[in-house]
Amino acid sequence: MLLLLPVCYFIQEMVVRLGIATGKGHAAMIYARFGKWWGRFSLFDLMLVNFLTLVTEFAAISLATQQMGVNPYVSVPIAAILLVTQKYKRWERITCVLCLLDLVWLVNAFFSHPHPISVARHALIPNVPPGGITSQFVFLVIAIIGTTIAPWQLFFQQSCVADKRLRFTDLKWARLDTFLGSCFTIMVAGAMIIVGNVSHEHGLTYQDPAKMADAILPFTNEFLRNAVLLMFCNAAVLGTTAISLSSAWAYSEVRGWKHSLNMSFKDAPGFYCIYAACTLIAASIVLIPGAPLQLIILGVQVLAGIILPSAIIFLQLLLNDHKLLGDQWVNKRWNNAINWTIVIVLFALSLILAAQVLAPRLFSAGS
């Protein structure tokens, strides 16, 4: 996870720089600089993968609340309605509070009674698990990378920077913000892994993460069980608002509609309709009995494999576009050396992930 900290920071820093310099979102910039074909391809792919990811986020809300004894037909619509009724500053404050709530994962990790020396050793020294490098292990590594550097994050942060109207003088603070955010992400993810390790140590099996909270109860306590379930809900609500907003911003930018959380519904009806539609349709699909959630999760993994490398390639090319950014805002040589390395590694990993999902038999011989 620690290796992902610089990767996460450098990718998101480029997005911040581009957003501050142009005042526009990522989808709009791809459309403007690479033409309609690549613009529409990126937008369509983003909208589809975002929608499917939204369904999985609502599925998480449904599973976690169901485990706490709340009917999903109540919790899912409430979560969906809460998400479409915000103004920018209010929305920003709420999301900051929800992010800070994630600190509870550190408490959860503490109550999981990990061995501090073992945690420190595994955090600082990368090692291969006892079973060796199997296809499942490779899949897990790629899945962790894919969820830490997700395609929607690029589109979301650039649009968010543009909507907040960050100034050129804000760049140093935005960089600090991005760095702290990256550290926070890695820290919380590490705490989640520590909690999950309780089930791994005791050889427990479960069908979904919500059931894990019940499975580890005999080895922990009631507080940890409830905190894990609530934090699953919290993560899903945060993901839902960010993903639906990234779709609404991207679609409205490309269509040339007014798109800002600072505007009322009257001023930006298209933007709010897309925002609401994404959220409400995804929530409705989760409530359909027997909805093919496994198929949707598979679709998310494949589509993320398609869009992540393309979004990062466009980002890297845009940050080298001297005509657009001038000499002040383009990548420096050291930026390019780091970023091209990250791009090539992510390209290869995304291809392996997509290949494993689509053609698992090709890899089964090596496992």
Binding site: A21, K24, W38, F168, N262, L324
Partner: protein, 78 residues
């Protein structure tokens, strides 16, 4: 008349640190992209887009393989 955060900061004593939320500040001029044509096809841009196309074709190939595999499984069940 509204002042930008920089103008306001200049008028204040050095002992004060003025924080203005960007949304409460006067919007500043950003770099324009409307008048620009599409990106120049330099070597790095051309090769990046070629790699991207090859990558997408590979994924379409894998997807087709997956569909054929599923179809074969279905036929075998019948």
């Amino acid at each position: 008349m509204a002042l930008s955060s920089t103008q306001l900061a200049n008028t204040m004593d050095d002992n004060y640190f003025l924080v203005v939320h960007p949304l409460d500040d006067i919007p500043e001029q950003k770099l324009k992209s409307e008048h620009l044509p599409t990106i120049d096809m330099t070597n790095s841009v051309r090769w990046s887009l070629i790699c991207l196309r090859v990558y997408l074709l590979l994924l379409i190939g894998l997807f087709t393989y997956h569909v054929f595999e599923l179809a074969t499984q279905l036929l075998a069940r019948k």
